[in-house]
Point group: C2
Chain length 212, copies 2
DNA sequence: CGATCTCTTGACGAAAGTCAAACTCAGTGG
DNA sequence: CCACTGAGTTTGACTTTCGTCAAGAGATCG
């Protein structure tokens, strides 16, 4: 969200290798992390090992807008790829929010965006079939990457570092049941190779995903 | 959230009978509604008729914190019972948010609460069984009602105006499959009668709901 | 090179959905 | 007072979707 947030804010940069934890559930933090490079995921882990990904974080994403007003993280944040992220001091960020109305506007937009994403996921998990969920996840990622200029406009190709267990955890399915993926590939909707996804039939693809 | 929000804010009171719409998806509003009395639900409707309840609104609830910064409602709000609600002018409310730090604090707390609720629902829909979802819904309602002093402390009895289709829409199940309810009643965990629910075995009940 | 991830497939079972019928319970109007 | 209606609930038989388990085949990485 904070492209062009060139205000006087200090931020320190950190790097985390793939699969490592960026912040833990119930940890206390005086900083707010923002992803600069790589993919991450916020995930809830249940006592019996079941996992649910709440959101996949892409470059430019604030880990959670709630962290601006609460120092207790409410979920685990894991790096999917190697991740470079910056951290803003909460007190400073909060203070400058009041001093800079345009920053505040950007922030409230990020928050609404976050809520819309969450609501969409609720509908997907509550009412969509396995096909619809997976198509929905990929359409969503494609749109968000496109907004960042991270989809090759000609070939519709993009980075796609997700493992099947990521897809399963994000869609509420099991890794094995992601055999729907194979069906998609066989029917020529998209292809995945070398951690990279190409959409072959954008129209058909979007028609599978859930429409409101 | 706004108990004790005794600032100079104007609010007009409206009344809506059960089953009527309080605000429609994509409607534009210059006011922010707050439930004063009765139960309501924010719900997403898909083109083919599938429905998903995003949240059940109880007395004292802001319909959505996002409405403070966006005039476009992102979901339908329906009255479950007869509902009395107040409406604040957005511009006024927003302005006084900056003038009154304690109101801002209350508001950011409401927002975090809203996000925690949404995340919990995501986990329930993504990873919980039918039993766990229904128990989770009821435990959640019980806790929220208790915080409002709306549960009889001795008998653990509370208003419960939800129809089975509400429960189904809230848990991502079908009305018929809510036969799990019958199982619960048979096994003596709670009873429902005359739009009123009594928890008979609180401990067992909470142990069924999903624990993080 | 093992050792660990990762993906794929298939057989089987469990959970949840669909369809249909009967029953309850308020209204409602003759 | 009594059919008539319509929404809501309950039940059972049957189908579909998805999960579980297990095995094997590539990857990938020290």
């Amino acid at each position: 969200m904070p492209q062009g947030t060139s205000i006087e804010l200090q931020q320190s940069i950190r790097i985390i290798p793939a699969r490592q934890v960026i912040c833990r559930e119930h940890d206390l933090h005086d900083v707010v992390p923002v992803i600069c490079e790589g993919w991450a995921a916020s995930v809830i882990t249940l006592s019996d090992g079941r996992r649910q990904i709440l959101s996949i974080l892409l470059p430019g994403d604030l880990v959670s807008t709630a962290l601006l007003f609460d120092d207790r993280a409410d979920c685990l944040v894991e790096a999917i790829t190697d991740v470079r992220y910056g951290t803003f001091k909460r007190t400073e960020l909060k203070a400058s929010l009041f001093r800079h109305p345009d920053l505040f506007a950007k922030f409230s937009k990020a928050w609404i965006e976050e809520k819309v994403q969450a609501d969409q996921l609720i509908v997907d998990l509550g009412r969509a079939t396995a096909e619809e969920r997976i198509a929905g996840l990929i359409v969503d990622l494609k749109d968000r990457l496109a907004r960042r200029g991270m989809v090759q406009s000609g070939t519709m190709e993009m980075d796609f570092p997700l493992r099947q267990h990521h897809i399963a955890d994000a869609t509420g399915l099991t890794p094995v049941h992601v055999k729907v993926l194979s069906d998609f590939r066989r029917s020529g909707v998209f292809k995945i190779r070398d951690r990279s996804l190409t959409i072959l039939d954008p129209f058909k693809f979007r028609s599978i995903a859930l429409t409101r």
